[in-house]
């Protein structure tokens, strides 16, 4: 065996020590002592809702990074950082999502869970393993808040934005005959249909035809023909982005180009280009109006504007309203855990959420409930916004800001020449 001299050992040890000192930070950061809290999330990363899951995941990760960047947060004298664990439900919450729930809640023991679609599929699991659940997508009607008392909705519900679209059609675009084309198997579309009908009755607009196409329909020609047979002056599409845009495309391909097409999909220019195709998307979107939550792009809040720029720079796509709610989610969880004084006790965190204030540094523009609380009966609310399409710039611009008080439109602001200053 080759022997190593003591001198050489000394040199080696000294070099190693010097290297260790050089590589180590001069003073330990606060995060060095921090423990990690894992936030569990079940999102539709693939499948027909895949336009929604990935941006939500990315925005939530941005929020977590911003929290960890300043050293995390403190609960009971102990410092913590956050870590995100996302499981893909493949847009199939009934089977894949339920398995993911068991993994995160029963195996990984996450203190809180973030979910997106198909909340009703988890009802039995909520009862068996209750924990606070934050939903950042599912605004189906009837409300998912009825499913279980542990469910919180971190966005405005369907009645908060659908009636405003009908109001806009009637009072701004002067349309009075709406044809509704919906996705028959999608509860989101069914909820929109319900509120379009309620709003139409309230505002004196006539629903001239209602057509719902079956699951997996790819050729919408018969449904378009049935809807157009009653000579509508506007078309309302129910469903999410990947349901709405193919119908809008086939409407255009069928020669229907002069009627306003309204939906509640939260579509971004990036998604329109991808799903409809370039250069057709610019023509198809020209008469589209989309009513949902406010967009980060159109916010006046500097923090929200910064988020918008950061998101576009990092992911090369427009962030939708969902991304703001997703970005804010970790901030909500941090305040709830601090208020509860624990990062593990699910019931205490749940109780804290019920009365928690609107967290600082959030970007969604929450409208507080009585006493400055974030949640109005477990629903966090923001203003709603209608956006139009600017063909010159191939992008979107806000045309209408509003807040629904029942079926009464309040705080309304119609933007006359939205594309001009955008």
């Amino acid at each position: 065996m080759r022997r190593v001299s003591n001198d050489r050992l000394t040199i080696l040890a000294g070099t190693a020590l010097a290297a260790a000192l050089l590589l180590a930070p001069s003073t330990p950061s606060r995060a060095d002592d921090a423990k990690t809290v894992t936030v569990g999330a079940i999102l539709p990363i693939t499948g027909f809702l895949s336009t929604l899951g990935p941006p939500e995941r990315d925005a939530m990760q941005m929020g977590i990074e911003d929290i960890n960047k300043v050293g995390g947060f403190e609960v009971g004298g102990q410092r913590y950082t956050l870590k995100l664990k996302v499981l893909d439900d493949e847009s199939n919450p009934a089977t894949v999502g339920v398995t993911a729930y068991r993994q995160l809640v029963d195996v990984d023991k996450v203190p809180v869970l973030v979910i997106a679609a198909g909340t009703r599929n988890y009802q039995a699991l909520f009862r068996r393993s209750p924990l606070p659940v934050l939903n950042i997508l599912d605004s189906t009607y009837p409300s998912i808040l009825d499913v279980d008392k542990h469910v919180f909705l971190l966005r405005s519900d369907t009645p908060a934005y659908v009636p405003g679209a009908v109001w806009y059609l009637k009072n701004v675009l002067k349309k009075e005959r709406i044809a509704f084309i919906g996705a028959g198997a999608d509860p989101y579309s069914a909820g929109i249909e319900t509120w379009v009908k309620k709003a139409a009755e309230e505002y004196g607009v006539k629903i001239v035809s209602v057509v719902n196409y079956p699951l997996n329909t790819t050729n919408f020609a018969p449904f378009i023909q049935a809807a157009m047979a009653e000579k509508p002056d506007a078309i309302y599409l129910g469903g999410v982005t990947q349901e709405v845009l193919p119908v809008a495309k086939q409407l255009f391909q069928s020669g229907i180009r002069d009627l306003p097409v309204v939906h509640n999909s939260g579509v971004t220019p990036t998604q329109a280009k991808q799903i409809i195709g370039d250069p057709l998307y610019n023509d198809v979107m020209a008469n589209n109006y989309d009513f949902a939550g406010t967009l980060p792009e159109t916010s006046d809040n500097p923090a929200t504007k910064k988020f918008y720029k950061d998101f576009v720079t990092r992911f090369n796509q427009y962030p939708s309203d969902l991304t703001m709610w997703a970005y804010d989610t970790p901030f909500v969880l941090v305040v709830a855990m601090q208020k509860a004084g624990t990062v593990t006790d699910r019931d205490k965190i749940y109780q804290a959420m019920l009365g928690m204030p609107v967290p600082a540094n959030t970007i969604s523009g929450w409208i507080p409930a009585d006493g400055g609380k974030l949640f109005h009966d477990r629903d966090a609310q923001t203003m709603s916004e209608g956006i139009g399409w600017c063909s010159d710039k191939k992008t979107i611009a806000p045309v209408f800001l509003y807040f629904m008080d029942g079926l009464k439109v309040t705080r309304e602001k119609v933007v006359a020449d939205a594309c001009k200053d955008h």
């Binding site: 990363i45 693939t46 499948g47 027909f48 895949s50 336009t51 493949e90 028959g184 057509v211 719902n212 196409y213 079956p214 997996n216 329909t217 790819t218 050729n219 020609a221 018969p222 449904f223 023909q225 049935a226 047979a229 990947q242 845009l245 193919p246 495309k249 086939q250 255009f252 391909q253 069928s254 020669g255 991808q274 799903i275 409809i276 195709g277 370039d278 250069p279 057709l280 998307y281 023509d283 198809v284």
Partner: protein, 288 residues
């Protein structure tokens, strides 16, 4: 409304016919219910998309490339899987479903789950037929189907290889005794079936979107057509494809659009009870 419904029906029927002919061709020679055809369509569509958008090839070059990919993938399914179950008819459907899962998930892994548009230069054009409108993509679908069916008919009737395929489909053992190379006919049949799958991708992709499961749902309609036309009967598949398209279109307008898919399956049930061999079956002459 009548003309528009008829036009819609012909567009839909052309799609069913194009898809069903590819299925019935492989069923005729090998008696395999080729569910994997949907996966071949998907991969062919993604090949067109990749060539057009990533490799920046002109659309028509990309379409040709996609057709070749469809043919090659289809032959691979025969070489890698189907040839081992020729003598085991009960295993064939299971193998076919397994292949479909493999092909769909290959597309998912390679290209992701997003819906992406395949955009030919005529994607936004409209053609007016009296009071009815036909999207240019629909006209392309009708034209593609007409040309493909005519070419296939000429191939099967007028060429030596076509006649050999028909012989194999009628009686493989007798064809082999007469010196026809069975393996070659199987490969050629699957290649043609793959080219037809590529044509479906070319014509159907621009109507909706390209995604990993894009053809799974319409494949069921195509199987209805295959059964209605008589298993292995190319002409029967073409005629029944058009009939089913018209039936679904008129049913959607005059009964209820919500039950559009139901009409086809209702007719299928009636056929199974009243004429189980199909509308155009002639047991002595398949693939013709």
């Amino acid at each position: 409304m009548l003309i528009q419904a008829a036009v819609n029906g012909v567009v839909l029927g052309s799609l069913f016919a194009l898809l069903a002919v590819g299925l019935t061709l492989t069923y005729g020679v090998m008696e395999v219910p080729n569910f994997a055809q949907a996966g071949v369509i998907t991969l062919s569509a993604y090949a067109m998309l990749w060539l057009n958008q990533t490799a920046a090839c002109p659309f028509w070059i990309a379409a040709l490339g996609g057709l070749v990919v469809g043919g090659v993938v289809s032959v691979l399914t025969e070489r890698i899987a189907y040839r081992f179950v020729r003598t085991r008819p009960l295993a064939a459907p299971v193998v076919a479903l397994g292949l479909l899962l493999i092909l769909d998930n290959t597309a998912l892994i390679l290209f992701g789950g997003d819906h992406v548009s395949l955009s030919p230069p005529y994607a936004g054009d409209v053609i007016y037929v009296g009071s009815a409108t036909v999207p240019a993509v629909g006209v392309a679908l009708i034209g593609t189907t007409a040309v493909a069916l005519l070419a296939l008919w000429l191939f099967l009737q007028r060429t030596k290889t076509g006649r050999a395929i028909r012989a194999v489909s009628q009686n493989a053992e007798a064809a082999a005794i007469l010196g026809i190379r069975l393996e070659r006919q199987y490969i050629v049949s699957f290649f043609i079936s793959g080219i037809l799958a590529g044509l479906v991708a070319f014509a159907y992709g621009p109507m909706y979107a390209v995604y990993p499961y894009m053809a799974d749902a319409i494949l069921l309609n195509a199987f209805v057509v295959v059964v209605l036309g008589g298993l292995g009967n190319v002409a029967g598949a073409a005629v029944c494809g058009l009939l089913l398209g018209l039936l679904e279109s008129f049913g959607a307008i005059y009964v209820s659009a919500a039950y559009q898919n139901l009409f086809g399956f209702a007719v299928l049930l009636l056929m199974i009870v009243l004429r189980p061999a199909g509308l155009f079956t002639n047991r002595s002459r398949r693939v013709a």
